[in-house]
Assembly symmetry: C2
Homo-oligomer: 252 residues x 2
């Protein structure tokens, strides 16, 4: 166990840099904080690089932390590193994992085209996990998966399934080679979602909060679907739409 007491320590500065996407990507790392998220991280031990805990915090006895490096820090350092107003005093530094190969085997795939709200992205990841999705592909223009608000909104699901950053058109082409049906979502053109038969294998593309899935992606799908609006609202939130479609498409 190491101890660091100065906010000017170079290691503290390196951690603090993980608040920026650019540095997260450069270091290939991201931070999660709070007991629930850190516990979820530790269940996937390979992804944990190290733990940072505040003096007087005790790691729960049932956690398997063998071999994980721990650094004890003071309140000032925790405050500096935390993204929340009342930090719980426990942070895990985790590896960004790649998983690019999953596109060749996953049977239920969710593709995200420029989802921009961190809360939406996190909730979509949580929902996809619950619905048994086996891989999430995050295309260009989406908010960073390792953004602290996204990670928090996943409630740990970020550690439950492979999440891959990738080019949607390439990924769709790979899925089609495997003869997996790829469904886009569109308010304008397409069929009512219930006209598709639920299946063990499918890929679904959901899109940007304002503009939906881009035209060039919609052109490459096998079929585009919409959810009927029976009331006066103009649309559904993208996370809600994802939940309805994923649970419908997978069947029971």
């Amino acid at each position: 166990m190491k101890q660091i007491d100065s906010v000017k320590n170079p290691q503290v500065k390196a951690w603090k840099k993980l608040h920026n996407k650019k540095d997260r990507d450069k270091q290939g790392l991201f931070m999660v904080e709070g007991f629930h998220l850190v516990e979820e991280a530790i269940k996937n031990k390979d992804c944990v690089k190290e733990l940072i805990i505040r003096e007087s915090i005790e790691v729960p006895a049932q956690w398997n932390i063998d071999g994980i490096e721990i650094t004890v820090v003071n309140e000032a350092i925790i405050k500096l590193l935390s993204d929340t107003e009342t930090p719980q005093g426990i942070i895990a530094v985790c590896f960004q994992t790649k998983h690019a190969e999953i596109i060749h085997t996953a049977q239920k795939v969710l593709l995200l085209d420029a989802v921009q709200d961190p809360g939406n992205l996190g909730t979509i990841i949580r929902t996809a996990d619950a619905a048994g999705v086996e891989a999430i592909i995050v295309g260009e223009g989406s908010v960073d998966v390792y953004n602290p608000k996204v990670v928090r909104s996943t409630q740990g699901a970020i550690f439950h399934l492979p999440i891959v950053k990738g080019d949607l058109l390439e990924m769709i082409s790979l899925l089609k080679e495997r003869e997996i049906a790829v469904y886009g979502t569109s308010l304008q053109n397409g069929k009512v979602y219930t006209c598709v038969k639920p299946s063990n294998e499918f890929a679904l593309v959901v899109g940007n909060e304002g503009n939906g899935v881009s035209e060039k992606v919609l052109e490459q799908t096998d079929q585009n679907l919409y959810i009927p609006i029976y009331g006066k609202s103009e649309s559904l939130n993208v996370a809600i739409a994802s939940g309805i479609l994923l649970y419908y498409l997978r069947g029971m």
Copy 2:
């Protein structure tokens, strides 16, 4: 058109009080702000008491504002009244409507048991509207429907369907007298939701983010349902669960 230029004007103070639930209920009013929400309010003209606009803001020509009182105010007053960081400069003061009688006629009803997150409540209202729900009953312990964050998250749906504050047990009893099937939601006990047949008439109860629907409510329903979790997440967000269940239960 009136003009007010002092933040100390008694009318301004009365409006500002609408930031508090107690005063909202006492005055029977609430505020909505921004062009989209105010436009939705004006489409339901009877609910608009008056408009407050910043100097130099023009009300869009296509809005039907005949007979609606307008007060022009300065930037300082708008900032005082607004709940957002960059106010659009247009606010409608609206009447809280009652609609208690809707419970006797609505065929699709959503009941909320202590939903506490404003974003969740707003998204649930928006989703219920989209799914064609005809009445929402908000039970004790839920966040106030007229909370500015709730109103904003509804994206206008708060003006699209009757929302009634009421006692859930009483309301369930009235629905059962009308022979409408009342479904609770529960992670522990109940049937998989897909074992229920979609129908033109149903009532669904969803519950608190942490504790779900209370025991005493679950005891009064006709059947309690759950959504299977196929992945490692512990649960679904309550707004997501509402979307999946409402779209399933109503059928096509």
